[in-house]
Structure formats: C-alpha cells, structure tokens
Subunit: 324 residues, 2 copies
C-alpha cells in the first residue's frame, strides 16, 4: 500500500468530482446518500459483481473496464424498463495497482456517468491482496406497476431481440487470438462489442410505453441460457428460428470461416441485448428496434431451435447445435 494513496484521498481526488453535481451524494463525505424517486415512480435496484480475470480482462484498458462495470448494470435496469438514476460503487483494488490505473478507471467511469446521465452517489473503496473486484449497485425509476418482468411470457407470444447476437463472445475470442484472418474492421467491431456493451435504455423505455405486459430480460449469459430463465419464470417453452437471429456482418464473416461458431453465438454471453416476449401486435408496434426470432409455446421449460431445412433440436444450455 505504500506506493498508493489512502482510501479517503482516492475518493476525494478521483471520485468526488464525478459525484459533485448531484446533491444526493452529499459530496461522498457522509455515511450514505439520500434520494427520492420521481412522483409516481418505483425504484428499481440491481447489483453486479465483477472480478478481474473472471468477468473482465485485467490487461484491458482501465477506462474500458470502468465503462463495462457501469454498463452491465445499466443493462439490468433497461431489462426492467427503468430509467437510470444513480449508482454506488464498491471497489476492491488489488494492493499492487497503481494510482495511475485507478485514475484511468475513474476517468472512464466519469465519462460514462456523464454519457448516460447517471450520478455517482457513493461507494466504498478497499484494498485487497487478491484480484481487483467491483460491485456496482444501480438505481433506476419506472412508473409504478409498469416494470418489465421475466414472468409475463404467454404461449402464443412472439419472441424478439434487439441488436445482433454473439458479437461479444466472438470479440473475446478475437482478443484471445482466434480468427486471425478476419478483416481488421470486423475484428475491431467484435472487440468493441465485447468491451463496450450498449445498454438498451431507449428501447426498453419504448417497450414500457408500448405495452406494459411485455416480458423482457437482458441477454448477459447467452441466448441459450437466458431463454431458460424466461421459460422458468413464465412457465413456458420457446421455439427459436436460427435463421431469424440477427447477426452482424462481422459475425457472418466468422461463420463463413467456421460454421461451428454458431455455438458461441447461441451460448456466448456479454451481448446485453434485450430478449422480449409479447403479443405479435405489441411486438410489431416496437418497430425496427427488434427482430422476431421465435415463438412462445406451452411446452414448459423446453427451448427448441429450428435450424436449416426446418430440422428442430433442443437448444441445450451450452448452446450446442445438433444440426451439423
């Protein structure tokens, strides 16, 4: 610890300026922060813990790590239809990390707090002999009773997703040296999708305004695993048309090189797109922000994948694809 500033210095120097603009934070000088939801709104709260070299690559730029820590939590708020309000950040910095690393982390964190109009309300900063970890708790607001939920998918609903799937998992593979023959533009696109998820906040707010009975969640653990969570919460089954899954040009280029990469696209995590189920007309009202990829069935807990030539197989949690 000798080479690094103490906890109070770190907070005052790097984090208090981020908190400065919101009175709720009490300048990070008190035991806690104080806030009130807007009239007619409920508070949505979510928390995610990330450990170095388990949930993020410690060799990546600290600014990028900071942004991911924030964004994965904002994505959980989006999954509930909530507008971000504030966050508290617990940070356990490995005791050999430099002041410079922490300063760069705080810089990235502050940039994204500004970009997403989120306030830093407080936190805790400790030193650890182990891997650096972060635990962020995020607060958002949603009109009372209108939060999106996982348990509202009904047989006959259609299933839709935002954005494109699989990019983040392929980006991590690129970072680990796979697909060396990929065009640089494709490789850069995939890496960016791994580093910087885009929480689907405006899409989520459109879902709330279109129909309060939509089921939704964010795809953080991969399509295959997260589909099972919707099934389990709603007591339904899902039937997914593989060819309908939206793919980026970069992901298509990877699949051309290696069709086995479908497995990563189906099971890889970190996409943070929204998975939405609802009546066909409600989903149609969402317009171009989603693409329909399947239907909700009454086969409780069964997730099926329709592949090439209309062959159907069960989609295992690991995303293994039995069509080949």
């Amino acid at each position: 610890m000798a080479a690094r500033s103490g906890e109070f210095e770190l907070i005052a120097r790097h984090f208090a300026p981020i908190a400065g603009r919101d009175p709720a934070a009490l300048s990070l000088k008190d035991d806690a922060a104080i806030f009130s939801p807007p009239a007619g709104c409920e508070v949505v709260v979510t928390t995610d813990a990330l450990v170095a070299d388990v949930h993020f690559r410690s060799i990546d730029a600290p600014e990028l790590i900071a942004k991911k820590v924030l964004r994965v939590n904002l994505s959980d708020l989006a999954a509930m239809g909530a507008t971000p309000g504030g966050v508290v950040l617990s940070a356990g910095y490995n005791r050999d990390l430099s002041d410079d690393w922490i300063e760069r982390f705080a810089k990235g964190f502050g940039e994204d707090c500004a970009a997403y109009d989120v306030s830093l309300w407080g936190g805790d900063t400790v030193a650890t002999p182990g891997p650096t970890f972060f635990s962020l708790t995020a607060f958002g607001y949603v009109p009372a009773g209108q939060a999106l939920r996982r348990d509202r998918a009904r047989p006959g609903d259609v299933l839709a997703v935002t954005g494109s799937l699989g990019d983040a998992a392929l980006g991590l593979a690129v970072l680990n040296g796979e697909f060396p023959d990929l065009l640089p533009a494709h490789a850069d696109f995939l890496k960016d999708r791994y580093w910087l998820p885009r929480p689907r906040i405006s899409e989520s707010s459109t879902c709330v305004s279109v129909n309060r009975s939509l089921a939704a969640m964010d795809i953080s653990d991969g399509l295959a695993g997260d589909c099972r969570k919707i099934c389990s919460a709603s007591n339904v089954g899902l039937e997914i048309n593989r060819d309908a899954i939206p793919l980026s040009d970069a992901a298509k280029a990877v699949l051309q090189q290696d069709p086995n990469q479908w497995q990563r696209i189906l099971a890889g995590g970190d996409d943070y797109e929204l998975l939405i189920a609802g009546p066909r007309d409600a989903i149609a009202n969402l317009g171009g922000i989603v693409r329909v990829i399947g239907v909700v069935t009454d086969q409780d807990g069964v997730v099926s994948l329709i592949g090439p030539d209309n062959k159907m197989a069960e989609l295992a949690e690991g995303g293994f694809d039995h069509f080949k």
Copy 2:
C-alpha cells in the same frame, strides 16, 4: 468449482428462502428488485465492501461473518437516522469454499434479516480465485429532510456517544491471543463486541425525533479518526474529556493490566456506536442512551483530548496518547 453448486442453485437453495417474504425481491428470479419508499420519506443508501482477512477473519464462523456484513451497513443507515428497508448482497466466494460454508453464511444472514426486519431484495453471486469478499448495499427510509448529517456540528455543541468504546478493538486483540489473563467473562464480552456490532437503530430514530439538526455518524474507524471526519464536514474542532469516555467493565479490566491500551480504545475501529453533536439541551433530551464526552469548538480541524490532571494534548488520528 466442481465440488460446489452453481450460482443459480446457491441462490435458489440458500438465499431465495430469505428473500421469500418480500414481493420487492421478485423471488430473486428477475434482473432487479422494485421498491417504493413510504409516503413522505426519502431513500438512504449505503454500501460497504468486506474482504476476507482484511475486514473479517476468514477463520471465524460464517454465521458471524454474515451478521457483521449486514450489521455494519445497518449501522451506516442508523448514522443517517434511517429505518432499514432492504439490502442487496454481492458475494464473491473463494472457489474452494464449501457449500456448507455458504449454507452457514446464508443461515446467519437470514437470522439477522429477520432480527432486524430487513428484506433481501437481490444480489449477485460469483466465484473468485482470491479472498472471499462481500459488498452489501442497504436501503433505509427517513422522513424527508430529517436525515442526520455529519456537517451540522456547531461550536458550543456538546459531543456524545452511545454504548461503550474500544471493546471491538480489544476483542480482536483477545482473538489474536492478547490479554490471556483476562477473566473469561470479560474476554467473551469483548470478542462478542468484535463479532457482533449492534447497529444503533432505535437510538438513531430517537435522535431524529428529538432534534432534526443533530450531527451524527457511526464510529467505524475509531473515535480518533472519525472525530476528524465530523470536524472536516462541519468545519469545527472537538475537545474530548478522556475520563468521560464510556468504558465497559471488560475494557476497564484491560486498562488495569495495561494503561497503554487507551490507544486502542481511542483509535481502534469496529465499535459502530453513534457519535452525536448537538445543542446541550437537545442532547439532554436523548436521556440515558448517550453519554457526553466533550464539546465542539471553533478550532477548525483540531481534535484535543483532555487527560488526567486536566492535561490537554492533540488527539492524533492513530489515537496516540501523550499523557503517560
């Protein structure tokens, strides 16, 4: 990880039953929890991170560790005058910890959630190759505008504390093998004070009802250090009468063996008593729940200690006592 259940199993088996009774938690099956403060109240939020063998002894009983993780955060709520509502728990379990350890941790956590009428609203459970860590975020409610704050001490106020000071630091010393000649009852008392802090929730709520302009904080880092935080937030000085500091019989017994232990009593952390400043009559109205230990001065940032024979010395952050 082979020997241990997965994240979802752990949550379903050990933590969902704790959350069961509160609809805000959505059975821990969704991306986030949803809650609303009672009418007329603001939300107070606080977070504390604890790392094994930095902030707690990994050899201690998991039930006790769980209770301390919860209680130190409830103490932060009490410091603001807030009534506890719910908590979210991020847990990073070392990957070699057994299911049994986690089950015992959850048992202790559940017992204390019930004892303090606090709901578990959610969290995140991950595995780490490093030391086990916990980051708890706690939410409480306080009537709007009536939170206790650190920045309200005024010259002429008196300074008071709840309970007795120094017990937890002495308890940790006992656990580490010091004071082997102490009576078993005294040793047990001190260890219990280290393991199981008593968040001063009812005392804090009395403070809010007696006078909304009291300054308060909880003594987590030791009297000497925490006094400086009140000074810094309120731009005042403090003058403390050492002989007025409330001591337990066990702490008095330690001092009889070794008067140098005043340093631990003045600077040792983990007591989680309340430090309160306010007008003399407001403090008197608190009755027997506090003891006056000094006065607030206009000597910005100066914390003085009046010792035996009315000798006065500056109380350094480390609590060194220059009277001997």
